[in-house]
Symmetry: C2
């Protein structure tokens, strides 16, 4: 198997919480992570996930949520409240409600130097707006299809964690969120064009009893999705044994659709591998990374809010070159350069597919 | 609140496991339950869920599954196998695999006396056929839309518990299963006609962190579904505090769409209530049962494979009269007669709806 050269940007991390102003003065930015990436008007844009929380007050847990009136409000609970039944750095359960410790929104950052450095644009924040995203919006993937940008993301609300979609043509006005997939679902990556007359989407339903596997769906209109098929399962004993999920849009190559994906093992380590899908029938998996092409190694990938984690949902492809943007340790935004030819050469082409009748 | 008269059939249970021949001689029928109901050729048909297992062998757990070659095979595990990590009457986990103790399929039974007695038709078994239903097919809802019968059901496989759909016009030949909703999802009930140009569907995604609530979806073609919205959540402290799910298709009335649904409380008791949805915008909930209109009372509803449970997914409507078919204690098939006017009168019409932006 050929080795894939991964050139991490010398200026990593590209953006850290300290680089960003919070959305309001009584909040602080705890993490900036998992950016979507796109080209617009000659520039490269990142759609950053910004996770914020109220400035901490000793002895209290607090979380922002979108209230019924459409404004962001704060739930504040004493740490010794008997209604708290579980608590981690990411979430807590309080009187039967499942709450996150931070609320995420999206902020755009632009690059004028080909994607090496980024400046936040505070005129472009996308906030939660509806009940289905009352606890936050996370991990945007951006894909331009038929001239329109579609943003697919994780919408977290009291009735579940689902896949939302907003649309824009000008990156100024955006459609309101529609849930394109019901809970529990994440990691929805659109193909850039129709295949066999139908739009296609990779997604990752999640079920504690049955696992966290990658599905393929199809659509006549980019709004309604059906014919869901599991095309890749987690692999016991492997680097991707616990959960897998698509990264950004699949890249069309002569060999097939190349999809960069994340896998987590039992210890919770997140690394990156790839899938190669048949060009005409993307339900057919032609090859899959036996080992990750990229693993947490740098200090900023090993240590942070959630250490030992790299997660990608944004990339810019230019010929054979991929600028891969990723969240490191759920804390900071980083970049790396890779070659598609090397990713393809690292794969042993064979039939790794599940039979789909 | 007006009382709803529920006339249980005098000949309940209508069908028990002992009334049915297994699909093969080395299997036994453990449960017959949760039938879909439909009219065809002047008769009433039930699409029975038949749960089978290999004839038990002392000291072993065994479960039928659909093997890669498309035949039903048996997994047999010693009860003291160290790979077994959990076991209940319904399922067990073995070496990281989640397995059911029975496999369900569908069998048609016909009534020539207006839906009071039913005879199984062994020429009409619908078996699992694909990987996504390798552990069984369960809880069929039948609805005739645009002249075709659509059967929506729970497809259980190694990659999750999802909503499958098969189609028929003649109840002899059936399309192969397409998953119309990804895991974890159940209880999908089609509306009988388009509303505002779009087909509609109630469904119940399931998420241990966020709950078991009823969603509404829409479709241009009955195959692909989108614009998912949570329209009814479980209610803490109520009879439907733990999980809710639609029954058969909503019934169109002058007051709105009347949907009979099941609710379970913290003790696992399943009872039946109703929702009234706006006729033109079924995302608007106009009313909801404060108390169940029907609760487990009869001996066959209180005791069985899973006692204290009534569950409906099939009904025949004739003017004001509803013949309600239901599974009792997950063991037997029963019937009851109700009046729509009484169900409507039992509801306090008000705005019980979630705001949906």
């Amino acid at each position: 198997m050929m080795k894939v050269s991964v050139s991490r940007f010398a200026n990593n991390p590209l953006l850290t919480p300290g680089d960003l102003a919070p959305s309001r003065p009584d909040f602080e930015v705890t993490c900036v992570l998992n950016p979507g990436a796109f080209r617009f008007g000659g520039r490269i844009g990142l759609l950053l996930r910004v996770a914020e929380r109220p400035v901490p007050e000793p002895g209290f847990l607090a979380t922002p949520i979108l209230a019924e009136d459409g404004a962001v409000s704060v739930i504040r609970v004493r740490e010794d409240d008997p209604g708290i039944s579980s608590a981690s750095s990411r979430s807590f359960a309080w009187n039967g409600r499942f709450l996150l410790t931070t609320m995420s929104h999206f902020l755009i950052a632009w690059s004028d130097d080909g994607g090496r450095t980024f400046t936040p644009d505070y005129s472009r924040r996308l906030m939660p707006e509806q009940s289905c995203e009352a606890y936050g919006i996370e991990d945007a993937r951006v894909e331009q299809v038929d001239g329109e940008y579609l943003i697919t993301f994780t919408a977290v609300g009291p009735a579940g964690i689902a896949v939302g979609c907003r649309r824009t043509r000008d990156w100024r006005s955006f459609s309101s969120t529609e849930l394109i997939l019901p809970p529990s679902n994440k990691d929805a990556a659109l193909f850039p064009r129709r295949i066999g007359g139908r739009y296609r989407l990779l997604h990752r339903p999640s079920d504690p009893a049955c696992g966290n596997h990658i599905y393929l769906a199809e659509s006549p209109d980019l709004r309604c999705w059906g014919n869901h098929r599991c095309i890749a399962m987690t692999r016991p004993g492997c680097w991707d044994e616990e959960r897998i999920g698509a990264g950004a849009a699949p890249v069309e190559t002569a060999a097939g659709w190349l999809e960069l994906y994340h896998g987590a093992d039992r210890t919770g380590r997140y690394a990156l591998g790839c899938l190669l899908l048949d060009r005409d029938d993307p339900a057919r998996v032609l090859a899959r990374s036996e080992a990750p092409f990229m693993e947490p190694e740098a200090d900023y990938e090993l240590n942070g809010f959630y250490g030992n984690c790299i997660f990608t949902n944004g990339q810019i492809v230019d010929g054979d070159r991929v600028l891969l943007y990723y969240g490191a340790s759920d804390s900071v935004v980083c970049g790396a350069e890779l070659r598609i030819s090397e990713l393809l050469a690292s794969l042993k082409i064979g039939d790794f597919g599940r039979k789909t009748a």
